[in-house]
């Protein structure tokens, strides 16, 4: 098809739609043309009635969109800690040598563009890459080599690493995406629709003690109650699958292996809060999960498990998938709403909170993938079953993503209360080499020393130990790891991912990264600079990204002061 005909056919489907169709439209243009040109922006502007300048601003916010030409194939190699330990830097270097270009450039023949990427959520298959082929879209590649990256990109993955005993998942992680034939009817949803009023469902979830699995640990039932009780007829459920915290990949595994469990959880949430529409926002770096969920939604709709009049009731639900486009900040729920609304992913000021003023200004229950996946088993087995697992303040089974210097990286389900030491030794096959440090909670988390790993893995015990469970990321570093290098990568990550809205984070992530780059030869006063920058981001930023952007560095200042020592 000629370019103009191709453009016309893409835009035809968007005519009459509003600004909230902007990201889907930009994705189609990006996939078809490799970048989005000024004339295309002009036509899209007329089509969606969004100002050209705004569209340009949106393209520049999301790193998977390009406003200048790219190669027919785009290769992005992860540059975050777990992939770095697995040799990602050497792969990127050799790739650039073979193609005779620097990183973040395109070959003269227009065939390849090579870029750095923040964490791709493939730490269990490090080193990982995300590749895009003009016209075909994205693909995540596991355990990459230079030859594989320059080859035909055939090497798919579908291996379930980790635990074989799982209460939440009801069985070991299967070797293929689960279909309805494996998963069965949405029994918990049927149970709710036939025998539980929404208020009773909310009470059951409250009684279970379930708290959010995305990092903030807010009580799920309470969030639903606030949303249900908020004024207004239109309400939304948003499933936050923008999992982007370095070292975290549990939601990817859940989405790829248990799509119907997640969908049933979404349906239960919608029934509880009174929503008829749910958005499933999946990060753009998860093409496989996106395809699996799209197929699962179609399958569920065909079986009347989603759609109108579900199972003969008067409850109806549409689930729409939205793809992120490369922005860690969109894991912050209000930034995620802005992305769905077709804007730059800036976090909003709170209050008002999403439960009263969320997506499109309507009451919204935004929940993490793992949180929603916990709901069907709670309904089927009862709140007391869930509450009986773990501790009083960390009820229910919890998924943990383990990567780095560990014998068996992967996603494991644990009963909270298990110590980190036993977890690493008994579940994960033990640390490879001599343990130096564990980074809990990803780049936004904090370090534990070898002497501290007898801490029980619960939200409250980790908090008391000055650490965090966060999103359940555990990154293991042995004595050969260069912690200064780890910190530099953390610094670059936040410098790259700050949205730029508030001054403390916009400036602080830049200043922090600059100081971390010179850790080998620090200037006098650098440790104090890092502390002042870290505390200012923590105390004065708008959102959770800024509040945690200095955490890992400040915890290293406390636990590894030698890393920051000045000469002499």
């Amino acid at each position: 098809m000629q370019p103009q005909a191709k453009l016309d056919s893409i835009l035809a489907a968007y005519r009459g739609r509003g600004r909230d169709a902007l990201l889907p439209a930009l994705w189609e243009l990006q996939t078809a043309f490799g970048s989005i040109s000024p004339p295309q922006v002009r036509q899209l502007s007329y089509c969606l009635r969004v100002p050209e300048a705004d569209i340009f601003g949106v393209i520049g916010f999301y790193t998977l969109f390009h406003d200048s030409p790219t190669g027919r194939r785009i290769i992005r190699v992860c540059s975050d800690p777990s992939c770095a330990l697995a040799g990602a830097d050497a792969i990127l270097r050799e790739l650039c040598e073979r193609l005779a270009i620097p990183a973040d450039a395109t070959t003269a023949d227009g065939e390849y563009t090579v870029e750095h990427s923040p964490c791709l959520g493939m730490c269990d298959y490090a080193p990982a890459a995300l590749v895009s082929a003009r016209g075909a879209g994205e693909r995540a590649l596991p355990r990459v080599t230079v030859d594989a990256l320059l080859g035909d990109w055939d090497g798919g993955y579908f291996m379930a690493a980790g635990d074989k005993r799982s209460a939440l998942l009801d069985a070991s992680l299967a070797a293929a995406p689960q279909t309805l034939a494996d998963y069965g009817d949405y029994a918990a949803l049927r149970q709710a629709l036939t025998g539980m009023r929404p208020a009773a469902l909310i009470a059951e979830v409250q009684a279970s003690g379930l708290i959010g699995r995305g990092g903030a640990a807010f009580p799920t039932g309470l969030k639903w109650k606030f949303t249900r009780e908020a004024a207004g007829a239109v309400k939304y459920v948003v499933c936050n699958a923008d999992e982007s915290e370095p070292g975290t990949f549990k939601d990817r595994v859940l989405l790829e292996h248990r799509p119907h469990l997640v969908l049933e959880g979404i349906a239960l949430a919608a029934y509880a809060v009174g929503a008829g529409k749910a958005y499933l926002f999946i990060r753009g770096e998860y093409p496989k999960a996106t395809a699996i969920l799209a197929a699962a939604i179609a399958e569920a709709e065909a079986q009347n498990l989603l759609g109108t009049g579900i199972m003969g009731s008067d409850f109806g639900l549409t689930v729409e998938i939205r793809r992120g486009a490369g922005a860690y900040i969109c894991g912050e729920e209000t930034a995620l709403f802005e992305a769905i609304e077709g804007k730059r992913g800036f976090p909003r000021m709170k209050p008002p909170y999403p439960t009263t003023y969320g997506l499109f200004g309507k009451p919204t229950a935004a929940n993490n993938v793992e949180t929603l996946a916990a709901v069907p088993p709670i309904v089927r087995r009862g709140a007391q079953w869930f509450k009986g697992i773990g501790s009083a303040d960390s009820a229910g089974p919890k998924l943990v993503s383990v990567s780095g210097h560990i014998a068996k990286p992967g996603v494991y389900e644990i009963e909270p209360g298990l110590t980190l030491r036993r977890f690493l030794d008994d579940y994960c096959g033990g640390v490879v080499g001599e343990l130096q440090a564990v980074l809990m909670g990803g780049a936004a988390g904090s370090f534990l020393l070898p002497a501290e790993i007898d801490v029980p893995l619960t939200f409250e015990d980790l908090r008391a130990a000055g650490s965090t469970f966060g999103s359940g990321a555990v990154m293991v570093f042995n004595a050969t790891a260069d912690l200064r290098d780890v910190l530099r990568r953390v610094g670059r990550f936040f410098q790259h991912e700050s949205c730029g809205k508030c001054f403390p984070c916009q400036l602080g992530t830049q200043r922090q990264a600059e100081i971390l780059e010179r850790l080998e030869a620090p200037l006098a006063g650098d440790a104090q600079r890092l502390l002042d920058v870290g505390m200012t981001m923590t105390e004065a930023s708008i959102c959770g990204l800024g509040h945690t952007a200095g955490m890992a560095v400040m915890s290293a200042l406390e636990k590894f002061p030698g890393l920051f020592a000045e000469e002499g």
Partner: protein, 235 residues
């Protein structure tokens, strides 16, 4: 007191304000000065600059006074150590990135907080060439603090012209037109409202800038709006 008033304490001083008042308004009523950079009474507040942060009841995070509403019986401190560290560090970091030579109000804030102008050596500055692409005003984004006010008045806060946006993100963010086209190619109607709300020397009338450059009367006439109009009139 009526139900529509609340009482709180700011820096030890009890004060009663209408409910819904911001901490900034309450502090002003109590005669307490809180610095602001991005806040402007004519634009929607976004709580960006955070130099107005205050400590409310020793909470985990500080609150932006420009948007945070007063809470009954709360104790607010506008100048304790936490507050001053954040304000001072923000100003020091800002000064390391942005040319503040024509921002006397921000310079005064730095002096008041004893901020160190060279606190962050070897910092990457936001450097850019001055943009002189129309007869009305020049844009010098080296002096831009990213308060967003120009973008806001160009859009829903006043003019609904949408000539401006923010490009890139994080520290690399800058104000821009679509694809960096010139102002004359953009939808700009040269209303001048962006100049009126700019808190630094980033946006400046061409006439003023020309005089700073030492232009002659003839150059001023030729290069600014007035001269162009005359030429159009049949010069």
């Amino acid at each position: 007191m009526t139900n529509n008033s609340i009482t709180l304490t700011i820096d030890g001083q009890p004060i009663t304000v209408p409910s819904g008042a911001t901490l900034l308004e309450a502090a002003a009523a109590a005669g307490i000065d809180i610095p602001v950079i991005c806040y402007h009474e004519a634009t929607s507040p976004n709580g960006l600059c955070r130099v107005c942060v205050v400590d409310v009841d020793g909470g985990r995070v500080l609150q932006p006074a420009c948007v945070a509403e007063c809470q009954a019986d709360s104790h607010v401190e506008t100048g304790n150590e936490r507050v001053e560290r954040s304000r001072r560090t923000i100003l020091e970091m800002l000064n390391a990135s942005v040319n503040l030579r024509q921002a006397p109000e921000i310079q005064a804030m730095m002096r008041a907080l004893a901020a160190d102008a060279s606190r962050f050596p070897d910092a990457r500055r936001r450097e850019s060439e001055l943009i002189d692409d129309n007869p009305f005003y020049v844009r010098d984004y080296e002096q831009c603090v990213l308060c967003w006010r120009c973008v806001q008045v160009c859009a829903e806060d006043a003019q609904f012209t949408f000539a401006l946006t923010l490009k890139n993100r994080g520290h690399d963010t800058s104000v821009a037109t679509a694809f960096d086209i010139s102002m004359t190619e953009s939808p700009c109607v040269f209303c001048g409202q962006c100049l009126g709300v700019c808190p630094t020397g980033a946006l400046k009338p061409k006439m003023e800038w020309g005089m700073e450059q030492g232009w002659t009367a003839e150059e001023l006439r030729k290069n600014t709006r007035r001269g162009r109009k005359r030429r159009a009139d049949g010069e």
